[in-house]
């Protein structure tokens, strides 16, 4: 058994104690390590247009640009070349977890530096990316799933999955949670108080003006029906408040254990629908990857007894389960509170905590629940 040790509970902690826990109690940084793996490609995709520009000999100051602050001197274009290429190389190191404590801050500095060369480099998705990179840099996200971890194990003789192998300071994780939730809440609230938005005018007008894109992407027999539907004013009168509610729901419900899984599933649906209907650069990929930060920062605190746990181990990226193979055994899952689940409940508990299958399992569960 390799469950993370937890101090016995001695009564409800006060708010001050909870805050101290955030800063002083080590916990699993695995979710940030998973996020780190994805952020490398995300940064490369983000930097790609700048890289190709510099290859063509063009830098930001060869055309219109706007300094962020009046006192800021004009930075030579060569600095941008250094920033984007260093950032790209550092992003590869970031994903590999090679010298993570060094390359993670470098990646952040390069992406931030490029953004702050000109106001017109700003995008909301790039600001969000900076949040993610900062958290990965501030936490010891290279403790697991990294070349750093492999090198440390070779030095100390430790093995993957040893107790405490992924423990680190997690205040950056909590800070990132607050910032990520604020993004959903800020966006949702601004739309809620804007009657043009919540009343459907904004989305309807966009749909009307971009209906040609629907005709380009939807096969002819049903294109007319789709266009008629998406350009109907009443449709947006209904869907716009729902869109606002979705953002607010994600920003609030994701904080609570009872609603978190639902919020994460809704967030996946939300980001996939945005990706299909709008151009948001790396936002969808980054935002879906960032949902990892809402996994409870504890590892192997549930026990699975299963006949063959090979696939569970492969898919259990968050290391939620202490997987025990027992040939011929029926599936049982022992939850954090000691409750032993079997049958359908055990299957739900197991599959709903494996990130790749979660979106589909959640739908199946919802359909089954509705039928019953």
């Amino acid at each position: 058994m390799s469950a993370t040790a937890v101090e016995p509970v001695t009564g409800d902690p006060t708010l001050a104690e909870r805050v101290d826990d955030v800063f002083d109690r080590p916990a699993s940084v695995r979710s940030l390590a998973l996020l780190r793996l994805v952020l490398g490609p995300v940064v490369l995709i983000h930097l790609w247009p700048f890289l190709t520009d510099t290859l063509g000999g063009t830098t930001y100051d060869d055309h219109f640009w706007v300094r962020w602050w009046g006192f800021m001197p004009q930075v030579p274009g060569e600095v941008q070349v250094a920033l984007v290429w260093t950032g790209a190389v550092a992003a590869i190191g970031l994903s590999l977890g090679w010298r993570t404590r060094l390359v993670a801050p470098i990646t952040w500095v390069c992406v931030a530096g490029n953004l702050f060369l000109s106001q017109h480099h700003f995008r909301h998705n790039r600001a969000f990316l900076l949040f993610l990179l900062a958290a990965v840099a501030l936490a010891d996200s290279g403790r697991v799933l990294s070349l750093d971890a492999r090198r440390r194990r070779a030095r100390t003789g430790a093995r993957p999955g040893d107790p405490g192998d992924d423990l680190g300071t997690v205040w950056p994780l909590w800070l990132l949670r607050a910032l990520a939730a604020s993004v959903y809440l800020a966006s949702g609230f601004s739309k809620l108080i804007d009657t043009d938005w919540s009343g459907g005018l904004v989305l309807w007008d966009r749909a009307v003006r971009h209906q040609h894109l629907v005709r380009e992407r939807v096969p002819e027999p049903i294109a007319d029906v789709v266009v008629e539907l998406v350009t109907a004013r009443w449709v947006h009168t209904i869907t716009s408040p729902i869109a606002v509610a979705i953002e607010l729901f994600i920003g609030i419900a994701i904080w609570f254990g009872r609603t978190r899984l639902a919020a994460i599933w809704v967030a996946i649906f939300f980001h996939v629908s945005i990706e299909l209907s709008a151009s948001v650069e790396v936002f969808s990929l980054a935002a879906i990857a960032a949902l990892a930060i809402w996994a409870t920062p504890a590892t192997r605190d549930r026990t699975v007894v299963i006949a063959d746990g090979t696939w569970v181990r492969r898919l259990d990226w968050f290391a939620r389960f202490d997987v025990q193979d027992r040939p011929g055994a029926e599936l049982t899952v022992t939850d954090r509170d000691g409750t032993v689940h079997s049958g359908g409940t055990a299957r739900w508990l197991l599959w709903s905590r494996l990130p790749v299958v979660f979106p589909f399992v959640a739908v199946a569960r919802a359909v089954r629940w509705r039928r019953s």
Partner: protein
């Protein structure tokens, strides 16, 4: 210095774990305060930027994407020292072209009605900045005194709102 009996720190460099039997991270008092202060500053800063976004045309770090469905276009002319008003689509001393100078699709082909990127405020503010930038970065143009854009905008289908923007005066034509 590690606390007496400290175990091998599995944390970030410089972070020490508490004594054996404790699962607390022990930091020097100044460092603990620094970390808490940093987090507080970031959270307050984020809150300020979100609130500030309601007064900022660009809504930097305020996270208000897809905030409008506004549209705009602009007629931009070069006003010469002798008072001529020459559309930027016509030949320009030095062979300059607006689209090449701005090289950003948000501001290219300004005469065409288009979606207001990130809202009308953002687009028109950038257009104003672009007039100044172009005026300052066309040294071979010795006849243009300033650039002037007359914009026609529809805020969420309502309008038109007409606005006249002018660049800084250029020394080259004075």
């Amino acid at each position: 210095m590690p606390a007496p009996g400290a175990v091998d720190a599995p944390h970030s460099s410089g972070v020490e774990q508490g004594a054996v039997g404790s699962d607390r991270i022990v930091r020097p008092r100044w460092r603990a305060r620094l970390v808490r202060g940093f987090v507080a500053v970031v959270l307050v800063g984020q809150a300020v930027l979100i609130v500030r976004g309601y007064a900022d045309p660009h809504k930097f770090f305020a996270f208000q994407p897809f905030n409008e469905s506004s549209t705009w276009r602009a007629d931009i002319v070069r006003v010469t020292a002798d008072g001529q008003r020459i559309p930027i689509e016509e030949p320009w001393p030095g062979g300059y072209e607006w689209d090449e100078l701005v090289r950003w699709r948000v501001l290219e082909r300004p005469g065409t009605m288009r979606h207001a990127y990130s809202g009308l405020g953002t687009s028109l503010d950038f257009l104003d900045d672009a007039l100044d930038w172009v005026a300052a970065n066309t040294p071979e143009d010795d006849e243009t005194l300033y650039l002037e854009a007359t914009t026609e905008a529809y805020r969420n289908t309502r309008g038109p709102e007409v606005l006249v923007l002018r660049s800084d005066l250029r020394d080259e034509a004075r």
